[in-house]
Amino acid sequence: MSELVVVGGGPAGMAAALAASAAGVSVTLLDAAPRLGGQIYRQPLRDADGSGAAIGPHLPARFAALRDAGVELLTGRLVWAVSPVPGGYELFLATPEGAGAGRLVAPALVLATGASELVLPFRGWELPGVTTAGAAQALLKHEGVLLGRRVVVAGSGPFLLPVAAALVRGGAHVAAVVEAGDPLRRPQALARLGAAPRVVRDALSYLAVLAGARVPLLRGAAVTAAVGGERVEAVVVSRLDAQWRPRPDGERRYLVDAACVSFGFVPRLELARQLGLSDHTAPGRPGAAARHDGGVTGLAGVFVAGELTGIGGAHLAELEGERAGAAAARYLGHGAPERARHGALARAGRVAAGLAALYPLAPGWLEWSDQETVVCRCEDVTVGALRRALAGGARSVRELRSVTRCGMGYCQGRTCGPIAQLLVAAATGRATALVGDLHLRPVATPVALGALGAPDAAPADERDADPAAAGPSTVV
């Protein structure tokens, strides 16, 4: 029953909902997860060590504020599709299991759908026990369950440290943190973080936890293979050169029962693309981020915030959310003050850029795999098959997909799409922005056909419900 629907209950979405409702807007905040918080603040509310550090100490106050503001919370609800209707936007809902959950119409939307993880493949990465770092962290936060007893955390980016620290706190033996890049060799980018005491403080606290547990921190190294029968039993860690090519000298095995891998994040664009919002791709990175101007998009009444607009961390996401919520309120005619904290936003933006510059991707990862290494796990498409298609003249991810089925399976390229994009860019010598991606308008989540909606529903333009005229949104 709201004027504004916010999709995504992470830092960005929560801030947007609060800012809009503070301006007098009636807001529905919707998230697929059973509880609010988004990726970083995934609950339980009680931390393993009771410090509240992993979920953010300010969270309980946030939740209380949302409740007090009268924001309608719809958790455990996925938006599988969104489309414009006269006077607003219609959201089609489903449960995480794929059952239908009605529709919602509102005159304005904030999309704050966040990002998903990027993993680069290596031999054996499909073995049970090898997961994304985020999945391992979510398991720990949600269920208090450890993925394994002896773990390596590998990949690249600032995210490896909090995950490793959380695993240590949860009682795992972290055999090593393996960072492919070498941030210490980028003093200029490192110096920029001086302006970000929060980031430095967080990093130091994670490093302290890791040092206390004597966890080796490797830089310029990567897990280049996982081996095992039923599940992973060991990983091969190789030393890398600056281009991430394995160096012949340094190879070492670690006996583990789990490996957590992450190479950063890729914005979740499904809903933005369904609406036809435009996006852009950063040089050298896969995926794309929604375009906007101060949270305002090219579509009247649609606002964006958080990692959907580019990877920048929870703090930036929150500031962006606040700005988008206020912009939506103004759009809806609720004289919200121009509250955007320009200085803070600019600072957080610089920090995000600094972090991105510290951890660039390098193309040498292609040499970690052999012809049999699987890229698309749903359709069992190997590096060899992709290379054959590229040798046969494929120049874009789309062409690769149509001749190999890469990305056509259950996950619709959410995992392999960015990998394929990097592969095509490397093989053709073109920018990632030019080779396309696999975000080909999938529904945002698999949903049962029987749940799609009323049979033979009248065309949208013939429906008499005019949400703007009717005022509040309606759950059909």
């Binding site: 489309s83 003249g393 120049r395 149509s402 259950y410 056909l449 799609l452 909606g453 529903a457």
Partner: protein, 377 residues
């Protein structure tokens, strides 16, 4: 050759193999347009007796040969098509159509009751009856385009992506001498073929010609892989009427088939909304509901993805194969609506014939752009 869809590539491969020198250009690349945004049915069943059916059967015969020549390359399967009618009146109309198609040589089998459900055990018992067309087949169009492109290149032909055709300069006799493109000029020897699919109207206009092609949008739903619900392609008899119906709305009718990977493709809809790519969830819901009416077990099968494609539609829903009335040297090979995949090989034969090759085995005059001449101001 302008356009590297299934039509342009089928023509290009044939002409090059027959000794012409072909250069295919596409603003994006192979199968970037409708040929990767539809399905791969090669149908006799939906063709009206007469021209339509004659050309379709000639094309299907050629597809069977191509499948032998390119063994296993594009998932050719003669799976057979089943058209079903939801009530007795529709069944009577369907049977009448099937009889007329049979008189022209199509293999048809009228089925009802136990016989029908023995053939198609998962079909709803509400269905009144059906007709089985054993010639109906299926391919994977993107792989077929790939096979044509490889054949083209093997014979020395060229394909260039990322080149948009924008105009032309004429030689002395008014024929197109050079094509102006985003990548510079391209010299033209004998002819320019406009195989730009739903964009063919724009391409013709920029070359000084005219062809009445408009995009007719269709949605397709892709499901998760499931145990095969049907070995055939099954669709409701209303589909044929929808092709020829100009009324507004969605033109939704159920078209159900399984692909070799286990996913199901569900169609179809027909809308004139320009080149809008915004998925309409209400259309998806209508398609799903109609498909479930044929196969109730689909209710719990999950949708993974939807996509839209643009059928190149002419006013009479028949292809245009022939020289432009105003731009000598410009041949059109477009307007195949929802049958461009099926009709691509026959179209290639037609263009070869227009360039001096043997007769394609069906009459060409009815497909000439001249039939639209009275429409011109």
């Amino acid at each position: 050759m302008i356009g590297a869809g299934i039509v342009g590539c089928a023509i290009g491969a044939l002409l090059q193999a027959e000794g012409l020198e072909v250069c295919v250009v596409d603003q994006i690349g192979p199968a970037a347009g409708s040929s990767s945004a539809g399905e791969g049915n090669l149908l006799v069943s939906d063709k009206l007796p007469g021209l339509d059916l004659e050309m379709a059967r000639a094309s299907l015969a050629r597809w069977r040969e191509l499948a032998q020549e390119h063994s296993g390359e594009f998932e050719y399967e003669q799976k057979g098509g089943l058209v079903v009618a939801s009530d007795e009146a529709a069944f009577a109309e369907l049977v009448a159509l099937a009889r007329a198609q049979r008189e022209e040589g199509a293999a048809v089998r009228v089925l009802a009751g136990a016989e029908l459900f023995a053939l198609e055990p998962n079909l709803s018992r509400e269905v009144a009856g059906g007709v089985f067309y054993e010639e109906d087949a299926q391919i994977q169009p993107m792989l077929a385009v790939d096979a044509f492109v490889r054949s083209l290149r093997r014979h020395g032909g060229r394909l260039v992506g990322g080149v948009t055709v924008r105009g032309a300069t004429r030689s002395g006799e008014g024929r197109i001498g050079r094509l102006g493109t985003s990548a510079g000029e391209i010299g033209v020897g004998r002819a320019v073929v406009n195989a730009a699919g739903a964009w063919a109207g724009e391409v013709a206009a920029c070359l000084g010609g005219e062809v009445p092609v408009t995009p007719r949008r269709g949605h397709v739903l892709v499901t998760e892989p499931v145990a095969p619900l049907t070995p055939h392609k099954v669709y409701e008899s209303g589909y044929v009427a929808a092709i020829h119906d100009d009324a507004g709305g969605y033109g939704a009718s159920a078209v159900v088939e399984a692909t070799p990977s286990g996913t199901m493709l569900l169609g179809s809809s027909r809308e004139f909304v320009g080149f809008s790519r915004t998925i309409n969830p209400a259309v998806c819901a209508a398609i799903a509901a109609r498909a479930i009416r044929l196969f109730p077990a689909l209710t719990s099968v999950r949708l993974l993805r939807t996509y839209v494609g643009f059928r190149p539609a002419t006013p009479d829903r028949l292809p245009v194969l022939g020289e432009d009335l105003h731009a000598p040297g410009l041949l059109h090979a477009t307007g195949h609506e929802g049958a461009g995949v099926g009709l691509a090989p026959a179209s290639a034969r037609a263009i070869l014939a227009l360039l001096g090759g043997p007769s394609p085995g069906f009459g060409l005059d009815p497909f000439s752009p001249a039939r639209f001449a009275p429409l011109r101001r």
